[in-house]
Symmetry: C2
Subunit: 341 residues, 2 copies
């Protein structure tokens, strides 16, 4: 029934026996501080050779149980379905490894229950630090971590109890709005108020972006229409539905739109396509987030690209500095060269 399968994995005791030495000598050699423990180079070499031959792999659980620090760093992330989070995860893994940490990441699908469970599991794995990315309830996670004596940080969405690293949503949105308005003027000959679509009105980032959106309108002397702010959620279907409803609502939809994420942009583009505006070059769009294909959509869509390496650099600086105060660090997003129309 079963294939050939080693009954037991090789341990330092097996290696000690094979080398005719003690387990502690083996341990010292394999974890690299054999010089400190005064093991002869000869024995060290022998042990390393035997370990190699036997395909020995450390039992991390045993090692971690004994050691004081786990060197494990955890991250929870809402989704893997867009470039922003994908790049956060990839960069995080890289930077963690470069610092000798072992990253573990889990996706919580914007589900508060899952977030809490994931955090508890990470604590069980003795993470030294937990990064809550885009968490729906970051403070809950901070509290859990604090109770276990583990430090935590917020990324993308801020919390009140732990340090947070987020994009400068206000400035980014203001600049993006300004650009969309300027494009409107250029392409349509006039500056009309834009539609804001996507995101959750309750989340900090969306609120700040709406603030930037208003400010840019005010700066350019354009009135913002209240019914044109549709914080309908992130999912594409929600954006699509919100546009349907807004379109039924009487007066014509604005030609210019500020779309609050690439995910929402999917819904917006679907709506545009469905409602026959696909070739309507008079649509002037901007998106708070970046995706390579959006550039190629060819409607001259402006994008704001959040500075993922910059944000994670700040995250690791905070970790290394040991700071615990609930500051909010805002990282300016990158705004690529203006798109041609």
């Amino acid at each position: 029934m079963n294939q050939v399968r080693q009954t037991k994995r090789t341990t330092i005791y097996d290696l000690a026996e094979l080398a005719g030495t003690s387990a502690s000598a083996v341990s010292a050699v394999l974890n690299g501080n054999w010089k400190k423990r005064r093991i002869s180079a000869q024995l060290a070499e022998k042990i390393m050779r035997i370990a190699e031959e036997q395909g020995y792999a450390l039992n991390m659980q045993a090692s971690l149980l004994r050691r004081e620090k786990s060197h494990i760093i955890g991250m929870i992330v809402p989704k893997y379905d867009n470039r922003y989070f994908g790049s956060i995860v990839e960069t995080f893994e890289d930077m963690a490894r470069a610092r000798g940490l072992f990253p573990i990441i889990t996706c919580t699908r914007r589900d508060p229950q899952l977030e809490v469970e994931a955090a508890r599991t990470m604590l069980s794995y003795q993470v030294e630090c937990l990064i809550a990315t885009g968490a729906t309830d970051p403070d809950r996670i901070t509290e859990m971590c604090a109770a276990a004596g583990v430090r935590s940080l917020n990324l993308d969405l801020p919390g009140a109890l732990a340090p947070s690293v987020i994009s400068d949503n206000f400035a980014g949105a203001r600049e993006l709005t300004r650009r969309i308005l300027k494009n409107s003027e250029l392409r349509l000959g006039k500056m009309e108020p834009l539609l804001f679509i996507g995101g959750r009105g309750s989340d900090h980032n969306t609120a700040e972006r709406i603030r930037g959106f208003r400010e840019a309108h005010a700066d350019l002397g354009v009135a913002v229409h209240e019914e044109n702010i549709l914080a309908c959620g992130y999912a594409p279907e929600k954006a699509e539905k919100a546009l349907d409803e807004r379109a039924l609502g009487g007066d014509a939809l604005p030609k210019g739109m500020f779309v609050n994420s690439t995910i929402s942009l999917e819904g917006v583009m679907r709506w545009i396509r469905r409602s026959g505006h696909l070739d309507d070059r008079s649509l002037v769009l901007g998106c708070f987030d970046w995706d390579p294909f959006v550039t190629l959509l060819g409607n001259g869509i402006e994008m704001v690209r959040q500075d993922v390496p910059g944000m994670l650099t700040k995250v690791f600086e905070l970790i290394e500095s040991g700071a615990n105060k609930p500051v909010v660090i805002q990282v300016p997003p990158l705004i690529p060269e203006a798109q041609e129309a």
Copy 2:
């Protein structure tokens, strides 16, 4: 200097002392088999209450060290920068959790060295099973796992030593090619041989896709031009460069193209845009892989969407069946409704 920080994490011994009972009773209660161990409901409730109050979190390292099975399942994945791998990772996490397993995932950036290191680390964490997704050297990983008595599986790219679950690349590519050729006929009035671009000639998937590409041409009586097969790698820049070189190569580029991944498609679209073909509706494209924005690119680009849930279902079936033989299971990809031009 230091913030208030709990010196020590709460253990079952602390809880035992608080409850006036033994550590083994606490352990039995908290891991749920207190009925089996004949602990009274009264004591169980008391212990659970105290554990709650103290914010107790299990030390997984200690627990795993003692137990026979870790319930950890590992996956290595090349990148997080496209929908295919993003969806693999998200679905994998979900399905693993649904089976009571703890998923750990790491990204190896198509770097053989990193793959090996990641595999070794996962073995140290006592994974029960390791899934090598799109690995450059899957057999190397299988060997490492076998030496540790750990089962392994290949996903996306097959290996010779462990069971593999992959897309039916041949059938998918044949159907995609057929569709592109039909679209050519429809839009250009004639069926001209296509250009194949992207992927590595050395990888199994690319080879199979090229085979399907040829077969579809043969079926429709179109000759394939050898210099039109550009397996130039996956990165966008490589596709862009390959097109540049091919364009210099004398005769005109084909109007129809089979692009071997969304990542390569980025490069192709960039090239198209740069070379002024962006509004050229005579271009007829197809892409082996799916991205929501590609639909919206509006050139009627055909896509093949790999059946990620189907593939992972097979993966878990293999795991549960305990099969170890190096079979290759091919999962038919999904081909969405034909795109309008």
